[in-house]
Symmetry: C2
Subunit: 148 residues, 2 copies
């Protein structure tokens, strides 16, 4: 199964936009992500609808952050992307009379629900500002390494 990389990509973009003066065009973002500007617009559309970024047309247009990174969590972006499927595992069968099938699926669903709750709770606790800070620190570390 091909993994959904939209969350990872959007987080990456949003953090870069903080340092970016003015607007970032879909083309520029696409180049940074190694993808296509249409894909960028399509994916960013959800973030715009939820008020995390704004888009402007025409000369000097492009994308800008609409809220500080302190106020955006990973969970916010996950939801803005439409809260896509978290798990690659699914439940099979559609026979409502088979109690075995039902017991299996209930058990799997419970385990997955529990894991999803944990995962989304963690997503909700991490802000993009914290990720940006972590990246800045790592950057300094690298810079320091280069001096030796």
């Amino acid at each position: 199964m091909r993994p959904d990389t939209r969350l990872s990509r959007m987080l990456h973009v949003l953090i870069h936009m903080q340092h970016h003066e003015g607007t970032a065009t879909s083309d520029a973002i696409a180049t940074m992500l190694g993808t296509n500007p249409v894909v960028v617009r399509r994916t960013m559309a959800g973030l715009r609808d939820q008020g995390y970024v704004r888009s402007e047309k025409g000369h000097g247009g492009g994308w800008v952050l609409a809220r500080p990174l302190e106020e955006i969590t990973l969970l916010d972006i996950h939801k803005a992307l439409g809260a896509p499927q978290l798990f690659a595992i699914g439940l099979a069968g559609d026979n409502p009379n088979c109690t075995v099938e039902e017991a299996v699926n209930v058990s799997l669903a419970e385990a997955m629900d529990e894991a999803a709750t944990i995962l989304l709770a963690k997503f909700g606790k991490v802000t993009l500002a914290e990720l940006a800070a972590g990246a800045a620190k790592a950057s300094k570390g690298k810079l320091a390494m280069e001096h030796f």
Copy 2:
């Protein structure tokens, strides 16, 4: 994304095999699951290699449980299927010099690792015998209902 239903299906089959006297052919299993016998053989191959079932050719051949359900956990079957991807979410980017990308992906990976640990721990604690017992109980409940 199309979910992977192999775990759900194999658990279902194994529990039914407990009550099944003698062998169950791939055809019979496929009919029960609403799928194709070749898919059954392909998927059961991993379980056979790990010693959870045996297969016999020729007249009267088919599949039989090789171990009691008490000794098989959901995790065992997950592993026997090759421990396929749990999450539909993936990490993007391959630029080792971008600390932002790295920070984003490390954070996502940590959250997913934590959730995966929880999920697999739960899988490891549930035996197929327990699922079978739950199904039998539900079956009785249904039977009782039918009497009134």
